[in-house]
Symmetry: C2
Subunit: 194 residues, 2 copies
DNA sequence: AAAGTTACATACTTATTGGTATGCCGCAAG
DNA sequence: CTTGCGGCATACCAATAAGTATGTAACTTT
């Protein structure tokens, strides 16, 4: 049953999101599901491979999904961009902010010490960037945005600010502070309208 | 000799900055200095206490120092703010960006799993925020900045974007990408001038 | 129905790794 | 000059945690 594999994957993702990769004890996580080490190592050769699978199968689709609407927009680019930012604020709970951005967490912790994580996480980040960049470019062409900014740079700026708001929100354990970062970004993004 | 203690502190700070706290082996780090475990545990009761000392004695002064000029400015607020941002770009090497922001790294990794780190790192973040906020307020009063923005929110925004640029720079291992985030922030910050 | 394979469970192993116990040396106070 | 203490070095310890070896029930294939 692939069901067991997915349960292992998902529950470990949750644990890693909260406490980080290294301090997560995979056997204890699966034990809570009534599953043993045997099942874990049946599906994943090593703990790192579990981590890779989480990035590939959970993080990657999750994060690229956020920006797909903006990337593929054919009209109302500005509205969709602003709505996407608003979603960050509305969909997240207090706890979500305290746990931080799963992608950011994993990057900070694992990218420097493992090339497998590094490559995968970079891919996800660049994929998000590409989506934002595309949306900005299309919006410029469609006349939704001003054309006096560089979409590549602006996309990195937007991405950086979101990730940074998560960082600061996590550090202070405050959703309100997270929101301040995002709200200011939203105000700024409105000035990109034409 | 307090010299030994400081050497232990500094070398471990460097190692932790690069590979993170948990994966740093303190005994191996000090061994490179020709120092043994005995000396380490003579000065620090536990590994966590070393981490706390690093935050208190290295990170805290380092990061608050960055913003002290802006906080205490009596004139030219806008110029000093912009210069502070420029310093981030000019003073950092390619490697620095790859290693990421030491404060951010430690926060992401350790804040969720240890209350001692959490409290200390939060303090440093809020201290930086306070400096930026003060500078913005003073600049508004002095007529250097527009008054139609909220200094508290704006300070969190600036802080978030810087931290986020580090995150994205680290994830992509690219100083150029880090710079794009900061350069866009710089452009934005210029619009705050009155 | 025999043989093989999948999907696990249980028990064990082994390499860290943070931390401790102890000892020694030099120096300063009494 | 001897006693005590700060400043280490060395050797040892115990817990953990990733990973392995083995077993076995169910299911598939031939």
């Amino acid at each position: 049953m692939e069901d067991t594999r997915y349960k292992i994957l998902l529950e470990n993702f949750r644990a890693i999101h909260r406490q980080g990769f290294q301090s997560t004890r995979t056997d204890k996580v699966v034990a809570e599901l009534g599953i043993t080490k045997g099942a874990f190592y049946h599906y994943f050769p090593t703990k790192n491979d579990l981590g890779y699978a989480i990035v590939d199968e959970i993080l990657c689709p999750m994060y690229t999904g956020i920006w797909v609407a903006f990337e593929q927009a054919e009209s109302n680019h500005a509205v969709i961009l602003e709505d996407t930012l608003k979603k960050y604020v509305h969909l997240l709970t207090d706890q979500d902010v305290q746990y931080g951005c799963a992608l950011n967490n994993l990057t900070q912790e694992m990218a420097p010490i493992d090339a497998g994580f590094q490559a995968r996480l970079k891919k996800v980040i660049l994929s998000m960037h590409r989506s934002i960049e595309e949306g900005l470019k299309n919006g410029q062409i469609a006349g939704a945005f001003r054309t006096d900014f560089n979409p590549t740079q602006m996309a990195f700026f937007i991405l950086s600010t979101i990730e940074g708001a998560f960082s600061v929100g996590k550090a202070t354990r405050s959703k309100v502070i997270f929101e301040m970062g995002l709200m200011q970004l939203l105000e700024f993004v409105k000035t990109l309208r034409r």
